[in-house]
Every structure is written in structure tokens, then in C-alpha cells.
């Protein structure tokens, strides 16, 4: 049994994963995405039974997983899960398909129809780029002038990937959101992320605290994880002021340090446990 940890640079999470592998006496390597060259076609002998994909660059993670899966190497997460989670629109469609409650979402392909859709949805709305982590390029749009300006900037300055407008109802939440960590078929930890900013993300200064995993949170988290294809994911949940719990995003390569300290759950060890299960399944084939 040999596990690879694919990284671009070592964040705390990757160090914890490597330590967990070491502590459990599992043979492992740190693999640097920057140095990799994949060859398509031909039979290659896989060096790893499973690879934890932890690159910070989303494109690298996505395509490395595809190449590894092609070589018969299982990845955590799988290419399909990464592909779905790295695109907010794909995430929304699978959540919808699986009946997982999510904020009302509308998609448009030009500024004029986007503006009409925003007007119809009612202000405020949230506009998100389809790709990109850490709450980057999330915009809250409070009125028509804001919408016009944002759409024009996306259109004029944005590249190809900013020409699909992803528009979402703004969910009035109590100054916090919930992030739950799912590993396989278990919700292993959950935290509140509290911030004075409407984006309750660590990069926007959110503070984490332990959140009790109620039956509702457990069920919703597992449903969201199943919808994107399972694996090790972080599910972002919004508590609407009308009592609804809504899944806003599912992350396939989340930072999880903020989930560990407040809850005391060793999420890194849980990821390693899951990788070993996946590796055992792969070699059992």
C-alpha cells in the first residue's frame, strides 16, 4: 500500500495529512504537481494505490485527477467529484437533480438577459464566478446600478469563463454560515463561520466555532456529498431567516484547519482513513 499526496505548496492541511500517514506507518510520498509530466496513452505502472489531490490550483487538481484516474490510480477526490465541485453551475445542477435544497439560481449568457433575470429574482442577489475558491469574485448586488456596473466589468474585463452569469438569491443568514466536513458516508465535523462581512469565509476574517451536528445538518450534508459523487468534501450551509437550511457550495479540496481546532476532530486522519479504503477497493478490483 502506497499513498501519494499531490500538492503544489505545503499548507497546514497537507502537512497534517503527511503526518497522519506517517503516524499510521503507511508508505507515502509527497508529489509536487509542478514537476509532473503526464503522458496520455500507453500503459504505465501506477506507483500509488491512491493519491490525495491537494493542489491549490484548481486546474491542476482537476486534470491531475483525470490523468491519474486514467492510469488506474484512485484519487481523493475522484475526477468526477472535482469536476462537479470546481464549477458552481455544475454543483447547482446536481444538487437540484438530487433534491438538495439550495439557493434559487438562474444562469444567463449575456448581460441583457442577466439583468432581466436579476430584476426578476429581486435585489439583493449574489453573483458568483463559476470557478475559484476562497470567496473570490463573489459579489453582492443590491440594486440595478450595482448590477449594471458588475455585468459591464465582467463582460469587458473578464475572459471566456466570465461570460456565463451565475445569479443567486441572496440568503439572509445570521452573520454566520455552517461548514460541515463529510468523509465517505459520515459527517465527521461541523463548524460555524462567523463574520461581520456577508462572505463568511476564513479569507474574509470569519471566526470558526464548533457547530453541533444535528440530524438535519447531518442529513443535508450527506445528501449534498452524495449529489456531487461522494468522497471527502466540505459542505457550506446557509441558515435562511425563514428557517430553511440551504447548501450553497460543496468543496472537493477544502482547507480544513478551521474544522479541527474548534471540534477536536482529526479531519486529516479521517481523510487518510478514507484514502486507505479507496486504495483497498482499487487494488481489490
Amino acid at each position: 500500500m502506497r499513498i501519494g499526496v499531490l500538492v503544489s505548496h505545503l499548507r497546514l492541511e497537507e502537512k497534517l495529512l503527511l503526518e497522519a500517514l506517517h503516524a499510521q506507518g503507511i508508505e507515502h510520498d509527497r508529489v509536487t504537481a509542478d514537476e509532473l509530466v503526464f503522458s496520455l496513452g500507453g500503459k504505465q505502472v501506477p506507483r500509488y494505490d491512491a493519491v490525495l489531490v491537494r493542489c491549490t490550483n484548481p486546474s491542476q487538481a482537476l486534470y491531475a485527477a483525470r490523468m491519474l484516474n486514467q492510469q488506474g490510480v484512485a484519487t481523493v477526490n475522484s475526477y468526477d467529484v472535482i469536476a462537479t465541485c470546481s464549477d458552481r453551475l455544475l454543483t447547482s445542477t446536481v444538487l437540484r437533480q438530487h433534491g438538495v435544497p439550495a439557493p434559487h439560481t438562474v444562469v444567463a449568457f449575456d448581460a441583457e438577459s442577466a439583468l432581466a433575470a436579476i430584476d426578476a429574482l429581486g435585489y439583493p442577489v449574489v453573483m458568483k464566478s463559476l470557478h475559484g475558491p476562497w470567496g473570490r469574485l463573489l459579489a453582492r448586488v443590491n440594486d440595478r446600478y450595482g448590477a449594471e456596473a458588475l455585468l459591464e466589468h465582467k463582460h469587458v474585463l473578464g475572459g471566456y469563463e466570465h461570460s456565463t452569469f451565475y445569479i443567486q438569491e441572496y440568503v439572509r443568514k445570521p452573520g454566520r454560515d455552517i461548514r460541515s466536513y463529510v468523509v465517505g458516508d459520515q459527517t465527521v465535523a461541523a463548524i460555524y463561520r462567523r463574520s461581520s462581512h456577508w462572505i463568511t469565509n476564513a479569507s474574509h476574517g470569519a471566526q470558526a466555532s464548533s457547530c453541533p451536528i444535528t440530524a438535519r445538518i447531518e442529513e443535508l450534508s450527506l445528501a449534498a456529498a452524495r449529489a456531487v459523487g461522494g468522497g471527502c468534501v466540505a459542505v457550506d450551509i446557509l441558515e435562511a431567516d425563514d428557517g430553511r437550511l440551504l447548501v450553497s457550495e460543496v468543496n472537493a479540496a477544502p482547507e480544513f484547519r478551521d474544522g479541527m481546532a474548534p471540534t477536536g476532530v482529526d479531519i486529516a486522519a479521517q481523510w487518510v482513513r478514507y484514502a486507505l479504503e479507496v486504495a483497498a477497493m482499487q487494488s481489490g478490483r
Binding site: F38, T105, V107
Partner: protein, 277 residues
């Protein structure tokens, strides 16, 4: 009811509308640029949607949203996702044993440069997403490689850090394009150009290419590898006569083939679509 989702209406789309009319098929044209897709809404009045959007992302997301509502599309979402991305196409072809140019993938300019030197010059660099040969480059030497890699990294956007490197195939100033509809080959044409990029969108000439069993088999295998559907397979002839599949296109233009073959291509496309309903 058949839906035809388009953006700008080209000659190809007009011919498709005419073919539908001749067959007295009830159809509705939707310009995706002027439609907003509410994910909560159930759209199910279409039995089938023919996607003819020029933009790959529009075709891709429209297909996904329609699929979510249980509506069949030509092509299906999974096929568009694979064909719209050259790396995913190459991976699918390789997995199905379809001969393709040797392809390497790297994530940094340094790793890409060593991959290029391993393949040997000239090589071809291609963006993962894009059509009409845009941003494809033939790299003849190390200086060109260094310059292109640096520019790609500095100026590229979403997948700017994924380098797709392919062996250059010394083809006879033409390539072959084969249109596949399901299990059948509709036509094969040569596309000629003085430029190494032999795309009729760049003004190349076209003529009919004899459909040998080898060519037909290869094209059908390529189409199956990406999931099957209505697909244009680009085939390169090696100096030693071997055939390699370079790309598979999910929303083929066919104006060049019309002139060369004189076929009712739109009619064939519509018949294929109606055969699926």
C-alpha cells in the same frame, strides 16, 4: 417539439431549419444569449434539443441544464464536456485505444519545457478549450517554446497553468474531417491549406475524401470513445500512411463540406436527430 438552441445563426443553422420544415417537424428556435435558465424551473416541452450554439460554454451548460430536466440533447452533456476539452478528448481516445498524436501534459513552464524537449521539436501546443485553431501553435525550437510558455502562463486565464503538448504530425498539407452520426459515417473530406493549421474556418479548400474501411472504422471508434453522437472527427495522415485522430468536435460547422460533397448534410443531421426521438 424539437428545440434548436443557437446563438448567431449561420448558414448551417438556416439549412437545419429548412430541413426541419421540409420534414414538417414542429420546432422552436431559442437564442441562448437571450434566455435565462432558472434552475428551479422545469423545462420539459421539448422532446429533443439540437444544440447549435457557437460558444462551447453555452452549449455545455445548456446541455447540462436540459439534462437535469430529463431532456435529450444532441450532443449529450457528457460528450460536449469531453469534446470541448482537448485534454479530456485525448484521455478518452487513449483509454479506448484510438491512435492519436503523442500527447504530454504538464503544469508549469519548466515541466512543460522538459516535456517538449523529450518529445523533440517541432511540437504543437494547444489551449484546452477553443476552436478554429485559435491559440494553437507549432513550436519549432527552444526559444519559441520559452516565449510561448511564458506568455501562456502570464496571460492565460482559467487553465493557463495546464500545458497540453503534442507531437507534430508532418501531414501532407491537408487533414481529413469525417462527420459521424451515431453508428454511421456521413462524409469524409480533405481540408487543404498552405498553413499547418488546416481548418476551413481559416479559408482552406475542401474536397471529397474516399471513405476507406480504415478511415470509417477509426472515425467511428473515435466517436464512440467520446461517448457517441453527431461528431466531426479530425484525422491526420502520417508520412508512413498511419492515421491519427487529432480532435473530435461536438458542434461541427459543415459549410466547407457542403460545397465539396453536394450532400444534404443538414437533412442527414435532422434525420439522425429525429431517429433518436
Amino acid at each position: 417539439m424539437v428545440g434548436v438552441f443557437c446563438s448567431r445563426i449561420r448558414d448551417e443553422e438556416k439549412l437545419i431549419f429548412e430541413a426541419l420544415e421540409r420534414r414538417k417537424v414542429c420546432f422552436e428556435i431559442a437564442d441562448v444569449r437571450h434566455a435565462a435558465f432558472d434552475l428551479e424551473e422545469r423545462r420539459n416541452h421539448f422532446g429533443l434539443v439540437l444544440l447549435r450554439c457557437i460558444s462551447h460554454s453555452q452549449a455545455l451548460y445548456a446541455a447540462r441544464i436540459l439534462e437535469q430536466n430529463g431532456i435529450d440533447t444532441i450532443n449529450p452533456y457528457g460528450v460536449i464536456a469531453t469534446c470541448g476539452d482537448k485534454l479530456l478528448t485525448s484521455a478518452a481516445l487513449a483509454e479506448h485505444g484510438v491512435p492519436t498524436p503523442r500527447t504530454l501534459v504538464a503544469f508549469t513552464p519548466a515541466a512543460a519545457l522538459s516535456a517538449i524537449e523529450e518529445l523533440g521539436y517541432p511540437v504543437v501546443l494547444k489551449p484546452l478549450v477553443g476552436s478554429w485553431g485559435r491559440l494553437m501553435c507549432k513550436v519549432n525550437d527552444r526559444q519559441a517554446a520559452e516565449a510561448i510558455l511564458e506568455h501562456k502562463e502570464a496571460l492565460g486565464n482559467q487553465h493557463g497553468s495546464v500545458f497540453y503538448i503534442q507531437e507534430y504530425v508532418d501531414k501532407p498539407q491537408r487533414d481529413i474531417r469525417v462527420l459521424v452520426a451515431g453508428d454511421e459515417v456521413v462524409y469524409a473530406i480533405y481540408r487543404y491549406s498552405e498553413h499547418w493549421i488546416t481548418n476551413t474556418g481559416r479559408g482552406g479548400d475542401a474536397s471529397v475524401c474516399a471513405l476507406t474501411p480504415e478511415l470509417a472504422q477509426l472515425s467511428l471508434a473515435a466517436a464512440r470513445a467520446v461517448g457517441g453522437g453527431l461528431l466531426a472527427v479530425d484525422v491526420l495522415e502520417m508520412p508512413d500512411g498511419r492515421l491519427l485522430v487529432s480532435e473530435v468536435n461536438h458542434t461541427p460547422e459543415f459549410h466547407g463540406a457542403l460545397k465539396a460533397t453536394g450532400m444534404d448534410i443538414a437533412g442527414r443531421i435532422v434525420d439522425y436527430a429525429l431517429g433518436l426521438v
